[in-house]
């Protein structure tokens, strides 16, 4: 009996300690002291390049803001959690960041599947969350506390479909998708509908699951249908191997992908087999604009490598959040989320960020060609209603002038209806000297 009482007492005191910590936790929503922001991402799992790059970008932005005096005199503190790239772990660490660390806002995740698992927790706790780079439409449909600073899959899928049909003149496309990934399935759906509307044909569709080691069965089936291009909307870990095995099978059709390819490890896995493939992405490191040049140089000086798009988006997400806190004048969830949603014409390194009514950023996408361990800029594709800024180079030299570019009809509206402003109608700007 004594022992039971003792343990009950222990539990009670532990609970008391936790209760105290909750009340006086670092964030606490007050208006003084540091602003505590939670970051969660995959720092040790299969997509750890994503999480690490984003974290680098977030921390770099926070340090710059802090050096410049912080937000209204308050410093930013970033608390990072590792979700190992697993959805259930993402939900757990976000709960921890909210309940225990009392963060005022959350930044993360990269993979849509993980963001989708964590978002309901943030929504329920009324803690605003900005995803730097989850592109699946369903992410911000979780609730009004969830927003993002990147474009969404209906647009990204349409960009690649348009590039394949118009620039590469492809008629037959095969698709190789990651069966269990919302990101991959979303892109597949929108690529497929856009490509067929442009007169193309999907000749074969194969699937794999994350962590598979042998893709030759699927690739052989694809090869037998002789496609002009192969769309592989997956993550770098698998894509690198797929590219290599495709080369072993002597498949010559170029592979097309999305922002999930962007990682330094892609080259370690795929090597030369990736030459001649194309991806859609959020920005190009070769962009000559001074803001991007400065960002790339600062990032290189700090981390020793070239920032990928995920680092740039992490950087932008942090700065958009800081800007919103500044405008809101408070870190209280309800007011902060309104300030985030009202973000307009924010000059980020990944383009001008304005959130639409579904809290998705409306931004152009770039198409990059993979060549000798470099992403070479090919063209910029704008969403409908957004025109190319006065470019230094006249775009008239290319075959398709922007005005003549066919406008795609909106993608099939499924459960994940695309945001209106980001419907996959696209216009193209090409550089004067298109490196094709």
């Amino acid at each position: 009996m004594k022992r039971i009482l003792l343990s009950l007492g222990l539990i009670a005191s532990l609970l008391f300690v936790f209760a105290c910590e909750r009340k006086g936790g670092p964030g606490a929503g007050g208006n003084s002291g540091p602003i505590v922001i939670g970051y969660y991402g995959d720092l040790s799992g299969r997509t750890s390049n994503f999480g690490q790059s984003t974290k680098n970008g977030v921390e770099m932005a926070a340090d710059e803001i802090n050096k410049a005096g912080g937000i209204n005199g308050r410093q930013i503190t970033i608390l990072s959690e590792d979700d190992e790239g697993r959805p259930e772990k993402a939900a757990t660490v976000v709960t921890k960041l909210i309940d225990q660390d009392r963060v005022v806002a959350l930044l993360g995740e990269v993979a849509s599947g993980n963001t989708l698992a964590a978002a309901p927790k943030a929504q329920a706790a009324k803690v605003p969350m900005i995803s730097p780079s989850s592109t699946n439409p369903a992410v911000t449909q979780v609730g009004n506390y969830i927003s993002r600073v990147c474009f969404i899959d209906p647009f990204q899928g349409a960009v690649m479909a348009k590039f394949a049909a118009n620039t590469l003149k492809a008629k037959k496309a095969a698709i190789m998708l990651d069966f269990n990934s919302p990101y991959s399935r979303g892109l597949t759906e929108f690529f497929e509908s856009s490509f067929t509307k442009l007169g193309g044909q999907i000749v074969n569709k194969q699937s794999y699951t994350q962590g598979d080691r042998d893709y030759k069965g699927q690739l052989t089936a694809i090869r037998s249908t002789n496609p002009d291009v192969i769309y592989v909307p997956g993550y770098y870990g698998e894509v690198g191997v797929i590219a290599k095995q495709a080369k072993q099978l002597d498949i010559k059709a170029p592979m097309l992908g999305g922002d999930g390819w962007d990682s330094t490890q892609l080259w370690d896995l795929g090597g030369d087999a990736l030459n001649g493939d194309y991806i859609s992405n959020h920005y190009s490191v070769d962009d000559p604009s001074p803001a991007i040049k400065k960002f790339v140089a600062d990032y290189k000086a700090r981390y020793g490598n070239v920032p990928d798009a995920l680092a740039a988006l992490g950087y932008d997400a942090m700065r958009v959040l800081a800007d919103s806190i500044n405008r809101a004048g408070t870190t209280e969830g309800p007011k902060l989320k309104d300030a985030i949603a009202a973000t307009k014409d924010f000059a980020g390194v990944t383009g001008t960020i304005s959130l639409d009514k579904d809290r998705n950023a409306v931004k152009p996408a770039v198409v990059l060609k993979l060549q000798d361990k470099k992403y070479v800029y090919v063209e910029t594709i704008y969403p409908e209603g957004m025109t190319a800024p006065a470019a230094p180079a006249a775009p008239a030299t290319s075959g398709t002038s922007p005005a003549a570019a066919p406008v795609l009809s909106p993608a099939k509206a499924g459960a994940a209806a695309p945001a209106k402003a980001a419907s996959p109608a696209v216009t193209t700007k090409k550089p004067a000297a298109s490196p094709q």
Binding site: S48, Q206, S207, K216, A221, S224, K244, L249, D268
Partner: protein, 305 residues
């Protein structure tokens, strides 16, 4: 037709890897009646030793045949030592207890190795350096075979022939066969059974490590958990062929590899999603256990090691 031949080549390639690993399962079972569940992790250890050897010795810089041979043999030796250590410190002390005890120990060892690697190296996949200049050759019309596939076939066949020679033509092989018939009688005949068991573990582990390095040339992604599914499938292959039976392990490995590839390659035509690939191996296992519990080539009078 081209596609069929191509799928066959694809299937045989992964089948050869399964076969190499299955040999280790079947040899250890033949001698100790123990399913060594840590064997799949030895395959992973082999790949990682190869990875670090390649970087430490500077072979990662570019493809070279010398580098490949050194890495392959080096990781086989290292894995053999790891296998012997596992036997010495985990299995030998409890050999006299019920077989269930050793089985559970084996599962424990497997988890220990995996988690040690995750703790030390992280779970993120690493890219294995390219040690072989990749090139594809065309045969039978449109079917392509790559250098790394040829390497897998050549090395695994060579190792299997070598294994057959060790078992049937050498003194230690004769002793292994004796131990597999009856451990106690073999001991009474003056055979150093502890040494023979240790030797068997070394042999099996070296083959698994070879499988690890060869796979890494074919598919350059390695991670600490890569041995789980591959190891399980190799185990299924060993049971399919008749556990304890050496040609059976090879046959089982090739069959599982081909079955898996065909499910992926042709399954979609008949509405079977490619994600069923892993399920097929285990479905085959269940069927075999139902209708032919001793496996395809297994029987009580077969020669075992």
């Amino acid at each position: 037709m081209d596609t069929f031949v191509q799928q066959l080549i694809n299937g045989l390639t992964i089948g050869a890897i399964y076969a190499l690993i299955a040999l280790g399962y079947t040899m250890v079972y033949g001698i100790l009646r123990l399913i060594n569940f840590a064997h799949g992790d030895i395959y992973m250890v082999g790949a990682f030793v190869g990875y670090f050897l390649a970087f430490e010795l500077g072979f990662a810089a570019g493809p070279s045949l010398v580098g490949l041979s050194v890495v392959l043999i080096g990781s086989m030796i290292a894995a053999a030592l790891v296998g012997m250590a596992i036997e010495r410190f985990a299995y030998r002390p409890i050999r006299k207890y019920a077989r269930m005890t050793t089985l559970i120990t084996a599962i424990g060892v497997s988890l220990l190795i995996e988690n040690l690697f995750v703790a030390r190296l992280g779970a993120a996949p690493r890219a294995f350096p390219q040690l072989l200049r990749e090139q594809s050759y065309t045969l039978f019309g449109n079917a392509a075979i790559s250098k790394s596939q040829i390497l897998i076939f050549a090395v695994s066949v060579a190792l299997m022939v070598l294994l057959q020679w060790v078992i049937f033509k050498t003194k230690v092989g004769t002793a292994m066969r004796a131990v597999s018939f009856n451990l106690n009688s073999a001991k009474l005949m003056g055979i150093n059974t502890d040494f023979i068991i240790s030797f068997t573990f070394a042999l099996g582990s070296a083959l698994a490590a070879a499988g690890g390095v060869l796979t890494a040339q074919y598919n350059p992604q390695i991670d600490p958990l890569m041995g789980i599914i591959t190891g399980l499938k190799a185990f299924v292959a060993a049971v399919l062929g008749g556990i304890g039976n050496i040609p059976g392990a090879v046959l089982g490995g090739l069959l599982i590899g081909i079955a898996e590839t065909f499910v992926v390659g042709y399954g979609q035509n008949v509405g079977v999603p490619t994600t069923f690939r892993d399920a097929v191996a285990f479905a085959i296992l269940i069927l075999v256990l139902l209708f032919r519990p001793t496996g395809l080539l297994g029987s009580t009078v077969q020669e075992k090691v």
